[in-house]
Structure formats: C-alpha cells, structure tokens
Symmetry: C2
Subunit: 337 residues, 2 copies
Amino acid sequence: MATLSDVALLAGVSISAVSRVLSDAPSARVGADTRARIRAAAVELDYRPNFAARALKFSRTNVIALVVPDLTNAIFTDMMRGVEEEAIERGYMVLLARAEGMRAGGDSIKRLIGEGRVDGVLVQVGDNVSAEDLAALLAGKVPAVIINSAQKGHIGSVALPDSAAAEIAVQHLAGLGHRRIAFLNGSPRNYTAVHRLAGFEASMKRAGLRVDPALLTTLGYQPRQGREGLRHVLEAPSPPSAIVVANVNAAIGALSEARALGIRVPEDLSIVAIHDSWTAENTWPPLTTVRMPLYELGRQAMAAISDRLSAGTVKDVIVSEPPVLIVRESTGAPRAR
Amino acid sequence: MATLSDVALLAGVSISAVSRVLSDAPSARVGADTRARIRAAAVELDYRPNFAARALKFSRTNVIALVVPDLTNAIFTDMMRGVEEEAIERGYMVLLARAEGMRAGGDSIKRLIGEGRVDGVLVQVGDNVSAEDLAALLAGKVPAVIINSAQKGHIGSVALPDSAAAEIAVQHLAGLGHRRIAFLNGSPRNYTAVHRLAGFEASMKRAGLRVDPALLTTLGYQPRQGREGLRHVLEAPSPPSAIVVANVNAAIGALSEARALGIRVPEDLSIVAIHDSWTAENTWPPLTTVRMPLYELGRQAMAAISDRLSAGTVKDVIVSEPPVLIVRESTGAPRAR
DNA sequence: TACAGTTGAGCAAACGTTTGAGCAAACGAT
DNA sequence: ATCGTTTGCTCAAACGTTTGCTCAACTGTA
C-alpha cells in the first residue's frame, strides 16, 4: 500500500518526479541518477499505483463487465477465456456478472455503469432476454457490445457463424444418407436460433430434403427442453432418423431421453449438436458436435468494446473462423428400411 | 454521470449539504425543504455516487475477488450463487478471477490487492495449487478466506462436510449389499481428498468391509482421471462391484469409460459420485450422487471474509448442512455370485 | 437588551494520482 | 558579460467524495 509520496520521501524527490518516472512520461525531464533512485525506491516499497485514484483522475477504470445469462451454458467457458485473454492484452480487467443477479436487483446494471465501476459492458443475450434489455442498454447511453446477436448499427455486436454451423450438421447427416432430419432449436426470439434455422433450411433444400414442420421445435437450449423436443418429434406421423440439436446441453438431454425411451443411438437415431464441450465427449455414445469458434467470439467481443472505447468505432462482426465438425459416435448411417 | 456538484447546483445548495442528505448522515442538520429540494434534484439527475471517489476516500472498494481454479468444476456454479447472494446482502460486489489467469501473469493476484481493487480474496483451492499459493497469500498480508480447506488459525477457511459425504456414499452401497467398493479420489495434497478418504475408510470399517489398496486411486477430479481410475481398479486381482467417485465430473468420465468397456451400469458396476450437477441427471443411466451444500459453502465463505473485514474475526468453518444422497439409476444391488 | 444555545448551511482539507506551468541552475553562443 | 535555451525538478490544481470546523441567523431565556 505504498503511495507515490512514500516513494518520493524515500528517494528524496517530489511526488511529481516519481509519477513521471514510473509512468515513463515523455515530459519527464529527470536526471539519470535521480531516475535510478526513484526506481530503486519504488521496487523497495513494492509500489503499485492506486486503482481508485487513477480511476478518479481519468474517469475510466479499465474494467469491462461481462454479463452472461447462465454460467452453465456451454458457450460460457471458452468465450470467457477469449474475453479474458484479449482483455489482458489490452490492459483491461473483466468483471463477470450473472444476468440473474442483474435482473434481481433490477438496477444492478445501471449501478455498474452509473457508479463508474466499469467502462463498458459485454452482454451475452440469452434465450430469455431481448426487448427490455436492449432498451435499457440503449437508454443507458453506455458503451456496450452485444454478443450472439447483431443489432445492426445501433450498438456494436459480435455473432457466431450460426447458419454455417447448422449447414455443417445437416451436410454431415445428409451425407450419411439421412432423409428425415429433425431440428431441435431455441426460441425464435433468439438471434442465434433464427440463423441456425435459416442454415438448417438452406442446407436441407440444397440436399434436396423436405423440411417437415412436425420435426421442428423451438423449445430452448436447456437439457430439459432437449428431452421435450425429442419426445415431440418422435410423435410425428413420420419420425426422423436423425436430429440436429441447436445446443449441446439440450442435445445431452435429448440423448439421455432417447436412452430412457429405449432408442439406440446411433442405430435408431443419429444426433448431432451445435457447440462442443467436455460433457459432449463424456456421454454415451460420445456426441458428434459442431464446434463453434467461441474463444474467437470472446476475443472479438472484447476487441470490439475496446475499439469502441478508444476509437469510438462501432462494428457488427460475425466471427469468421468456421465451425468444425467433430465426429464422435452419436451419428451413423440410417437403418435400411 | 451526474456529480454531487451538479446536484448542488440544481438544488441551489452546497456540495456538502447534498452529500450529507443523500448519505443520511446523522450530522446532517438540514431543513426539511432544502432536503426535499436536494432529493428531487438527485432523482432528476439520476445521481449515483462515484465509485472511484468513494474508494479513494475510504480506501475500500467493497469488492471481493473470488479466485477459482476451474470454471467447469462442478462445485463452481452453486458456490458462486451462494457467494453472490451473500455479497449482495452485505453490500459487496464479486470479482471473479480464474486461477489460470492468475498463474499466467504471475502477479495478477498481487495486482488485484496491491492496486487496491479488492478488499479481500476468496480462494477456492483446487487440485493443483497449495504450497506457493498459501505462501503468497500469507505473505501478501491480504484478508483472505480459503474455500475447501482448513488452515487452522492462520487465515480464515470454509470447508465442506467431506468425510460425511463419503460415508453416505459408502453406506448407500453397503446397504445395497456391495462388499468390494473402490474409491476414485483426488490428489492427496488436497484437503477435500484426504477428508473424503478418511470418511470412506471410516464407514468401510464400520460396515465391516475391507479397504483394498488396489481399489484406491488418487488421480484427480477431471473426467479423464475418472476414466483412468476406473480402468485401474478394474485390473485389480479382485475387481469391485461398486465405486465411489470423489467428484461428479470424474464420475461422468468413469461412467462413459464403463460403457466403452462394455460394462453395464448398475448391473455389473454401481457408481456413486460426490457432488451433484445438471450433468449428473443427464447421463445414462442418471448418476446417483451425494449433493454437497455448495450454496451454503459460498454464503459462509462470503460471510467469513466480510466478518474478517469489518470485525477482524478469523474463523475456520465447516459447513454444517449435511450432504444428501440423491438416488438415481447408477446404483443397484450387486449381481449374485 | 444581551447572551447562550440551536439550527442551517458552507469552507476546505484529504484520499492518491496526473500534468500543465513555473522556477532555478547550468549551458552554449554571441 | 549577457541572453536565450535546455535541463532538472517542484508547485498546485483537479478528479468526486466525505467530514470536521466555522459561521451566520434565529430561538428562547435572563
């Protein structure tokens, strides 16, 4: 907890000399010996500039809030890593905030910004929030970047190659010979869900396959919703031989439900999920997935908010790194009929 | 971004009057009408006290850092909820920091404290860290509470009823008739692991069962280590009919490995894991687990650090809420021999 | 009327940092 | 010897709060 004045005292110089030397200010006209004495004193006292004082002086904290809807979401861990690593490189710290905690207090997010705790906000929009959140953010006039959505122009945003991911999944299944493919999707209010659906439909069409409305659900990304979705499409007049699940957590639910119903995977039903995670390789059978560039998503989001803060540029990015198919054992050729 | 002086200007009073009124200072001798005018002005401007200025003034930020080794750890989500809710009630904010990021920079943790960004630290000690971490913390002279360990006296700590959990698991299996029970544990450098082992051994003894050293592993809490552990105990001269896994993630790995090896669960092998999570109910078969009071762990940890900061009291707590057995379908009676 | 006590409100310092401006000494050039 | 320029360093204000102190005006009492 040594302050500038402690260092100055020890080095026998003024506070301003210390400040300039330690921050390598170009305006620092300080003799070589004095400089050395200051450096030595700073090291001896283990001086570190007080965060609050700097924040007050510059009215910026170099802290970015990352608001996520759900810590158990498959997307979270890798994205967080990307955000943090980019943050470190750019001299920022990341303050993680759960959206639940946000909603509860009601004004937690306004506090975060209003009190000047953070310079900007990264919001991962989940299945639930959309209208009020966007409104609150735009109203708040706070630098923000939306993750997993693209509100063109209003505010920065960073999104995944959602449609490409769905296309890769369909191509894989179609390539195996599947013709009746179901799609268990998230809420249509969700940017990712509409784009994944678009990709699904486009590649089904390209493969010459019919999209049966009875094989489409939009229940959500949770395991329970995956289970429900599976039961629903199995009750269709002509049930699927394969399903694409728009989220790996939901897929894990669906897979577990399939086993409970005595359906063999992949013999009776192939399953491919969007998003990869450690859980996907530890199901039985291990899940075939389409891995999304979540780490890159995180990095780009951080880069976007940082550019916004320093240069004022607002961009709407779609991460260019392509999704990659990871073939495990939950997909195979359909049974001959 | 309205400041006190903005409010003062609008209300036509001095800054200090505003400060006293808005913070309900007992020393505030302010007339009722002035008071009302100040309140109105504050609301109109949406005044919020600047965080940095307060932090500078009081040299405390009301922010606590929570350092966790791994975001995918089963313990994390529930514990975090507990920490946050207790934090809100006590007027603190939580700054989440991954231990990986900590280790990388090397001094990130010292920065966190040294720069005065946080008032205290909650450290969840994982499988890997122990010696250097404790040393660094004690040396740092920073208020800290260790989660999942108990360094009696030195520093505050909060731990789980680890041995009780292992006992419950063994009792369940012994009650089903199992006699050869394996234990897949974490590293013996780990507080939780040594206590779970103690509980395991105690209840085996109480049940009149022999602890076979060939059925004990100490590989770790990751899925991969669960797989390895399973293979190891299956190679024992006289393999187990049931296993207790000290962590649910490792148990999921073990379960998946069992399927891969063609072992039926629970017919050929019963599995019970310590810690519950959403993943445990979505395996096949769903995992029998012993749920730990993680939410309470989080609350108590936050309470401990808060008490430490305000009253200076150092406590070493073991969460009293008992673990509870959640019977699903991965455990059953052993096959008759 | 004078005076102590109370009420209402403002002044100014301090927290630790940064930074424009100022000042004295040394230096080089005429 | 004088004058501008550079070098080396310090002063002081400012960021937004909090809070001890001061001060004026008013109240009630002697």
